[in-house]
Each structure stands twice: as structure tokens, then as C-alpha cells.
Amino acid sequence: MRDVSIIGVGMSAFAKRKEDSVADIAQPAILEAMRDAGVLPRDLNAAFCGSVFSPGSSGQRILKGLGIHGLPILNVENACSSGSSALREAYIGIAAGLYDVALAFGVDKLTALGGGALPLLDEDVEAGQGVIMPAIYAMRARRHMEEFGTTREQLAAIAVKNHKNSVHNPKAQYRETYTLEQILNSRPVAEPLTLLQCCPTGDGAAAAILCASDLAHKFKGDPVRIRASVLRSGTFTDKFRDMTVSELTVDTAARAYEMAGLGPKDVNVLEVHDAFTIGELMYYEALGLCAHGEGGRVVDEGLAEIGGRFPVNPSGGLLSKGHPVGATGVAQIYEIVNQLRGRCEQRQVDDARIGLTHCTGGGSAGFDHVACTIHILEKA
């Protein structure tokens, strides 16, 4: 396996862009990544497009407008982990020696769906009886509160933190601060979760250029090493399961730390899948940042704040930066690469050397989630 680095990243500002096509949304992000890396279409050996709701063959349709065609292009759908799964495909191809330089990007246009909770399959035994993604997370929250005394205020404080961080992110969908009372008093969605504890719907794209590390010097992009790239799928059961444990993330994290030869204490900055506040709290535990049941303490002690022991979601996270699902995993990479390069200005985490991205999702009866990816990156 060859060592692989990311040499360029790009991202669209996340926003509601009903009038724009998927290509309008994705192309500027890809162009930004290529200019950042200093690569031209002829330098690319392969391209991977992650998306959940875009039309078929979107990768080819989007890339033709940038002079990228003829090479292997793969369209990747893997729930909320689509973009990060596309990135992992690029990683695998380069690590295996099939390619030297590859593009991975993610894009989605959720305004095309009409807004509200993401559609789940009617034939699913739970979705067909009224489950929606916020309900799944809400039930986890209820159990966590019941078993560990986690409070509504601790959950809401995560939304306060992430909204505060995004004020300094020009590409975030929302850039306003909210008080704890505003979060708690926003309208209920799925009790105990209120509207401002749920990520918004929106449109966006993000892109990354990956390169064999020993060839990175040929390009101008400031490289960041990939220390781990792991994808897992959820285990299925119709039996009892502990809903206070994010078991798929626990499994993925253990493998990512092993691959990197690092542990949770080594990580300086994280972008975590906070589609709902309870998600971020449970992922503190699942990623080994604290013990099972102690997520509330992380909030109380401010450990995940910028300036805390392990800042989580300095970009604003899905809650405030936005969550155009296919784009999210690569947008997390965009943030961590720029954090490790020291380019994040007012939201910069000091002395960040190791960063982690975590992207998981998909609602289907009998699964914790359907897919999870974790990437661990290191400043070169």
C-alpha cells in the first residue's frame, strides 16, 4: 500500500440554491480544489462522485464541463457517507498503485426534494409506520437521558457551540449565534429534539484532490497525509439493541485508530456527524473521547469547544454549516485539511497536527446506521 496525501480541497458555500443545477453547484468546488492542488484535467487518473439524490451519471455530467472525461469515473451512493465513501475509493486506487492522482467530490441538491425530513423508503417496516430520521435520534436521546441523566440543556448546548463556530465560516449555511433558550424554545420536531437541534436541508458540494505522497512534490498544493481511511456498514438485527451506543461508529473508530497507529488522545481536531445534537454527544463516546454515558460531562466542561481539549466541529458542523448529504463527508475533509494547514483564521484550532472526520447515516429498520466512514489526517 502506498502512502496517500490530499493536495487540494474546494467547497461551495452551503445554501438553498433551488434555481441552480447540480453541475452549477459542484463545478466551482471542484475547480477550487484543482487550483488549490495545482492540477489540470490531464493530471487526473480517476474521479469519484458521491451523491444520494443527484440524477444518474452525475459525475460524468458535472465533470465534462471542466474538461475531465475519458478517465474512470465512478458514481458512489452510500447514504450520508456517500462523499466520504467516494474519497475512500480514490484513496484505495492510489494506495493500490492503480492511480497517482484522483479527484473525489460530493454533491447534493436537497431543495429539489421540497424540504422537510429526508425521504425514507415506504416499504421499510418502520418508515412505513411513521419513523423519520429525527425520530431515530430523538429516541436515542430519550434513552440517553433516562440511563445517564443527560439533560435537554446539555443537548442544546451542542447546537449553541456549533452555531457559534459557524459565525467564522464564510461557507456555512447559517452564521448566527443562538442562546440556549432560543435552541430549547424553537419548535419541537421529535421530542426532546427541537428544530435548532436538527441540521437544515440545503445544497452544496465539496471536492478533494488525492495524490501518492511521494509524488505530491510535483504539484503546488500543501499536502496533508491520510493516516486512516475506513468504511463499515451497520450490523442488522431485529433483536434488542442498546440505543445509547453508536455501535457502528465504535466499530469504525477502533479500526481507524488501529490503521493510523493512533488513539483518541492523539486527535487535535474533529469534524463529526452532528445531524442532530444527540448524535454529536453520542459520538464523543463512540469515538473514545470520553467513556460511555459521559457525553454530557464533555459538554459541561467545554472539552469540544475551540480552545478545549478536543475541538469538535469548528466549521459549525452539519447543524450550522449545513448537510447537503453527499457533500458532507468531503466538506469535513475540506475543514480538517485547512485546519491542519493553519488556514482557518478566527475558527482555527491552535497547533492542530492530527485531525479526524466522521460521517455516518442512513435510516433503515434494524440498523444503527447503514454506513460509517472515518478518516484520520496528519499535517505533513
Binding site: 412505513g128 423519520i132 429525527p134 429516541m139 430519550r142 420536531v189 431485529d238 439493541r241 440505543m243
Partner: protein, 124 residues
């Protein structure tokens, strides 16, 4: 329209699961093959009509198929399976761990305006 597999007996309808004749595993809903041993020797088996409330959440999102608010819940049965359905909570949600009875009832409205019959839980 029905989305749950209820027994035909009107008197005390039971939710029907599948039991594997080869290894004895019980599944709900029924798979095409036993996912433990891949045997196709699956037969209907009635589940208990009482279980314990594992968790619930009141949903406030408006949707023509599921006019809210409504309460979704998971209930654990003695057979070891966890069942999803909607909880009767007009007089408030019972504490987690409470006993509930399963019955076939309306959980939503289908495209023709008819009732979707699924699993409902009545607090005991």
C-alpha cells in the same frame, strides 16, 4: 392497506413472526430465508401481545401520510424481538419500561385516503 403481519383471528389478533424450523431463530418481520442458518424452512409463529416500552418520542412534523402529532415507540417482547409501532398517548406517555399491549390499528393514511394498519401499543 396493512404494513404489519397480523393473524387472521379477530378475537385476539397476534403479530406473526417467522420461526426457523432448522435452528429455532425467531424473526420479525419475516425474512425470505433464516439469516442465521440460511434455511428456507420458516413458518409463521405468533408473538406475545404484551411487551415492555423501551423508548418513545412524540413527533411534531406535519406529513399528509402521518398527520401529527403522533408518538413512535419501540417495544421489547419476551421472544427477544423489538417491535416498532405507534403508542396511544392521549393521556400522556407512560414511563419507559411500562407494560403495553400490541393491537392492529391505524398508523397513517395511504395515497387513496385509506387507513394504513400497522402496530399500535396501548399502555396497560
Amino acid at each position: 392497506m396493512a404494513i404489519a403481519n397480523w393473524s387472521e383471528t379477530k378475537a385476539s389478533p397476534r403479530l406473526m413472526a417467522a420461526r426457523c424450523g432448522a435452528c429455532g431463530e425467531v424473526f420479525y418481520p419475516a425474512p425470505k430465508v433464516c439469516t442465521a442458518c440460511l434455511s428456507t424452512d420458516l413458518s409463521d409463529t405468533p408473538l406475545s401481545d404484551e411487551g415492555k416500552l423501551y423508548v418513545c418520542s412524540k413527533i411534531h412534523v406535519q406529513n399528509p401520510k402521518f398527520p401529527g402529532p403522533y408518538v413512535v415507540a419501540y417495544v421489547d417482547l419476551p421472544e427477544g424481538v423489538r417491535i416498532f409501532g405507534q403508542l396511544d398517548a392521549e393521556s400522556g406517555e407512560p414511563p419507559l419500561g411500562s407494560s403495553v399491549r400490541l393491537y392492529p390499528g391505524q398508523v397513517g393514511i395511504d395515497k387513496q385516503g385509506g387507513a394504513i394498519i400497522g402496530v399500535r401499543f396501548k399502555p396497560l
